[in-house]
Amino acid sequence: MLRAHGQARRLWLIRIGSLVLFFGLWQLIAMAKLVPEYFLPAPSQIFARYATLLREPIYGENTLLQHFLVSLRRVMMGFALGVVTGVPLGILMGWNKRVEAAVDPLFELFRPIPPIAWIPLVILWLGIGETPKIFLIWIGAFIPLVINSYTGVKQTPEILLRAARTMGAKDKDLLLEVAIPSSVPYLLAGLRVALGNCWAILVASELVAAQSGLGYMMNIARRYLDTTGVITGMLTIGVVGWLLDSVLRVVQSKIPWNEVGSKR
């Protein structure tokens, strides 16, 4: 127990050490003035900019925090819509062969189209409000969630289904009591991938007629050659994406039958 505790501490120290090393090296390179400031500003300048941007507006009327909250809302809405639509569809496709036959060709047709390829159409179809941005983020969440929930249901161990049938379970019970619970580890993995995708697509989605948000802020900062502003946005997305993924990872580790899923 003590040994395990010691190892965990060492791993944490390595994690923190790698971050300190990364930012330390970056700071040294910037301080050595090997490249101009607009090329690579020092982390100290980025952190100083954070302090300013939390108080003062940047490119419009919003502070960094307000841009962040707008982006977080978009990501969460796209992600939630992805869960509400993608998970049931994936489960249905995995459980019912007719649904699979009907949906699969369409899904396979649209699956390879990256969300940013929709950008030229979204204003035309959906206007300049929140809908086009959330639509793009939704696509990023929807695809992995369908795939993972479909795979999760398909991978339900036959022995569990047979055992349940022997005990008199009906089709509905098999789905609700056996297949769905057994697919939870796949589903959680899908949620993590989907959430990562949502943050990745956020910047592209906020190129579409956005007046606020981290992607908008980075886009305008780029226009003015404000590298510090761009990196501030990037780091914010990185940190928040990492924190949210960590929450999902903790949830994933609490699923008692997660090990069964991961062994398969």
């Binding site: 101009p36 607009y38 204003i123 300049i128 579409v208 007629a209 007046q211 050659l225």
Partner: protein, 351 residues
């Protein structure tokens, strides 16, 4: 024995490699000037006209064009040292010079092709109630940090409104026009080529930067280190630039035919008349008038174009996009007069 053979072979390979390097260095290929261009835009005509007419070959320089969709990535390429010269709108030149020195070696006034569009029925209402009354509270699509942004703010000032009196909606070029046609914004600031969409949909051109007396410079820029090392190449480039302007003024048909052909072979249907209309709205400068426009008049601190860039920078500072001191446009614009004079001297000598 085996070791000796390996040793001999290794020596041979190294010798061949070194010889190859020496030979390739000796066969000095002609220098290629990497020219960034925002396009395709009719007043950035260097690739569209000079190349088909072999004007670069005649001048003795090789050009490699790198096309950009907007000014921002082109400035990044300049910052990375990946471009030697460029043809670009005014605002990116201003933003670049807040970070590094990017001299302007030629300029012209594109204000006549930076436009404001409304719906036909609104154009009538504007006539009835006046611009200020109609625009108050209306939404306007524009692209932040561009010539259009500069023109829009100048226009609002001219009609007695402030940006707070309207709703400014930042949209990328192309998206702006789509949003306007869908009815998501009441008016839109536009330029070529996305304004073709507005024309074909029967929308009304309300005004231009030129009609509003707002000078909106576009420019030929050169990387400072390149300019210092190869002033002769920059002068040759300028020679072609001014020959193109002479051609447009003196042999308009040849210029327009060549340019229309270029556009059409590049998938953009554009007639000679449309091109003529665009050029009619741009104020180009021949060498003599360019020298004049880069020379401060007595008692004035800056030249005409030095002042035009300075006004643009001052606007973006007021707007919050530029922090700190304004760039020194005496250095960026006026000091580059020497290259124009070098060209004039060279032309005089050749005569």
């Amino acid at each position: 024995m085996h070791a000796k053979m390996v040793h001999a072979l290794t020596t041979l390979v190294i010798a061949v490699f070194l010889m190859a390097i020496a030979l390739s260095a000796g066969a000095a290929a002609p220098m290629v000037v990497r020219v960034g261009i925002v396009g395709p835009v009719p007043d950035f005509f260097h690739e569209q006209v000079a190349t088909p007419l072999n004007m670069w070959d005649d001048a003795g320089i090789k050009i490699k064009y790198i096309e950009f969709s907007s000014g921002a990535p082109m400035i990044e390429a300049f910052a990375a040292g990946e471009l030697d010269m460029g043809v670009i709108g005014g605002p990116p030149v201003v933003f670049a010079n807040t970070r590094f020195f990017l001299p302007v070696v030629a300029a012209w006034d594109a204000s006549g092709i930076i436009e404001m569009w409304v719906r036909p029925e609104d154009a009538q209402r504007i006539q009835a109630v006046g611009e200020a009354a109609w625009f108050k509270g209306k939404s306007i699509g524009y692209t932040q940090g561009t010539t259009g942004h500069f023109m829009l703010q100048g226009y609002l000032r001219n009609i007695g409104l402030s940006p707070k009196d309207v709703k400014l909606v930042h949209l990328e070029p192309g998206d702006r026009e789509q949003a306007f046609l869908r009815g998501d914004v009441n008016a839109v600031q536009s330029w070529f080529p996305p304004n073709k969409l507005l024309k074909s949909a029967g929308m009304s051109l309300l005004t231009t930067g030129r009609k509003q007396n707002i000078t909106i410079p576009s420019a030929v820029v050169a990387r400072a280190a390149f300019l210092e090392r190869h002033p002769d190449v920059v002068v040759k480039f300028l020679d072609v630039h001014f020959r193109l302007i002479d051609l447009l003024q003196k042999d308009r048909d040849r210029f327009l035919d060549t340019q229309a052909k270029w556009f059409n072979t590049h998938g953009i249907k554009l007639s000679r008349d449309e091109l003529a209309q665009v050029h009619g709205n741009v104020v180009y400068y021949d060498l003599e008038s360019q020298i004049d426009s880069f020379s401060p008049k007595s008692g004035e601190r800056l030249s005409y174009f030095g002042q035009a860039f300075q006004d643009m920078a001052a606007f973006f500072k007021e707007n919050g996009a530029i922090k700190g001191n304004l760039p020194d446009f005496r250095q960026i614009v006026d000091a580059q007069l020497k290259y124009l004079k070098m060209l004039k001297d060279a032309r005089t000598k050749n005569k």
